[in-house]
């Protein structure tokens, strides 16, 4: 017993996950925007709600920021069938390890677990239908600091010093965040209401230049999926909370 959930799966002859699937999945999240940046209260992870299949809007209620456990978030961009299965596998693996070993899995091991799933998805990535390029945000149990990581579709992992983004609309977001990092105001020192408003404005900007990114409509209280991660865990922001921040920021 070493707490490895994936090693347990072959016993009852269960497939490891959706990674062996060969059928092409219809909706694709390449047309998407997810991003994460450091703010004064932790790491804020944001995403839009849109899934597209070619030029068809497949869904406008897709959850792309997924809670893997009490201290880990995964933002998905890429093939949703594979990405969601990866998230489900990681959720079970992390909780299985924590419960069976009576201690949480280390952040390094969590990062490697996602790397391993991405590597095992190599056939899907090469065939062009199952590529996933996720973001990962996790808290190091030793020092309680939240960190942001991004991956390439083959499983290489990189730590982002200040921010990271993935999906077709992320280049606009990363450009703005780069500007702010260089010339201010710095997101890393922003209070929570300002950081939440910044995330929604960034998503509006991404939607302006990327048709596949679902935007923000404050009049309809339609905001980004937003989750804050820090040593205390994960906090999700409701539509009403975001609407209140938005209203308070109006000049």
């Amino acid at each position: 017993m070493n707490g490895d959930f994936l090693a347990l799966l072959p016993r009852p002859n269960l497939a490891v996950s959706g990674m062996e699937r060969t059928a092409a999945s219809t909706p694709r999240l390449e047309g998407t925007t997810v991003f994460a940046f450091h703010c004064a209260d932790g790491v804020l992870v944001a995403g839009d709600h849109r899934a597209t299949a070619g030029n068809v809007v497949f869904s406008d209620t897709t959850e792309k920021i997924l809670e893997l456990d009490a201290h880990s978030l995964m933002a998905i961009a890429g093939s949703p069938s594979v990405a969601l299965e990866m998230a489900r596998t990681l959720q079970t693996s992390f909780e299985f390890y924590r419960r069976s070993q009576l201690q949480p899995m280390s952040l390094a091991a969590k990062l490697r677990a996602l790397s391993r799933l991405l590597r095992e998805n190599l056939p899907g990535t090469l065939q062009g239908f199952g590529a996933v390029a996720p973001l990962f945000a996790g808290v190091d149990a030793a020092d309680g600091k939240p960190s942001i990581y991004f991956y390439d579709p083959l499983g290489a992992q990189f730590e982002a010093a200040a921010y990271a983004g993935s999906g077709s609309g992320s280049s606009s977001v990363k450009s703005v965040l780069h500007y702010l990092e260089k010339w201010g105001p710095h997101p890393a020192t922003m209070a929570l209401p300002d950081a939440v408003n910044l995330a929604n404005r960034l998503l509006m900007t991404a939607a302006e230049f990327d048709a596949a990114t679902g935007g923000v409509d404050p009049a309809q209280k339609d905001f980004a999926t937003l989750k804050l991660l820090n040593r205390d865990g994960i906090r999700s922001f409701t539509r009403n909370e975001q609407a209140q921040f938005w209203q308070e920021a109006r000049p």
Binding site: L9, E95, F96, R99
Partner: protein
């Protein structure tokens, strides 16, 4: 030997006697269904008695630490495989006990040439309200009893177990907070020292509900939480 029915019966009887003798000095474990959730308590010196199994499932056990660990691992593996294969909502205590744990315990008990499991278990499932909480008392031989009351006690002696359960059911009124509930549980724990029967605490006299040191373990399957995993370890000093 097992070809001869009488000797087999004798072997099983000896086995029960051996297990009871091994467990006779074990200290009890408790589970209580409350508005806040299902509270579990154990006092184990140098040994854990209370464990998380799955999102809404938990275990309190007494017995040999290695056997508790084997049961715990089996339950965790079965629950996670089921939750992964189907859905976490399909992981229920009744299914886990009826199709995984209890058959394994019974099978092990009947292998008269192998060492038996030295365990007595309380397993609980958190429901959406108190009426849907499930508490089960599982014996070393795989027999299971689903409990209808809101208090469950696991003790090697069934007489002591019944007496303590009855006393606690009279004590744990709905208006008590978790701190007072824990205090009553500790009073009951003190009233059944290892190897001795339950002595009903005096009605009007002083009751020692102070926290024993060391080894008190408290956990709550929290009904008020919105997270998937409801198990929370409680610090007795933080209880209101």
């Amino acid at each position: 030997m097992t070809d001869e029915p009488y000797r087999w019966l004798e072997a099983v009887a000896n086995r029960r006697e051996y297990i009871r003798d091994q467990l006779k000095d074990a200290t009890p474990a408790f589970a209580v269904s409350r508005p806040e959730g299902v509270l579990l308590m154990g006092v184990g010196v140098g040994q854990s008695k209370v464990f998380e199994i799955y999102d809404r499932l938990a275990l309190a056990a007494l017995g040999h630490s290695v056997d508790i660990e084997r049961v715990r691992q089996t339950a965790i593996e079965a629950a996670h495989l089921e939750g992964f294969t189907r859905d976490p909502a399909d992981v229920t205590l009744r299914r886990l006990l009826n199709f995984s744990l209890c058959p394994a315990l019974k099978s092990s008990f009947e292998q008269v040439f192998a060492a038996p499991f030295l365990v007595e278990l309380l397993m609980v499932e958190l429901g959406s309200d108190r009426s849907s909480d499930v508490m089960a008392r599982v014996n070393y031989d795989g027999s299971v009893r689903y409990l209808t009351g809101q208090v469950a006690v696991a003790h090697p002696s069934s007489t002591t177990e019944s007496a303590a359960t009855e006393w606690l059911q009279g004590q744990l009124t709905d208006d008590l907070g978790l701190k007072d509930v824990v205090s009553r549980l500790i009073t009951a724990w003190r009233a059944m020292p290892p190897g001795k029967p339950f002595v009903t605490p005096p009605t009007d006299g002083p009751k020692d509900g102070s926290i024993p040191k060391p080894g008190l373990e408290l956990a709550l399957l929290d009904r008020r939480s919105s997270s998937r995993a409801r198990y929370r370890i409680l610090n007795p000093n933080d209880l209101a």
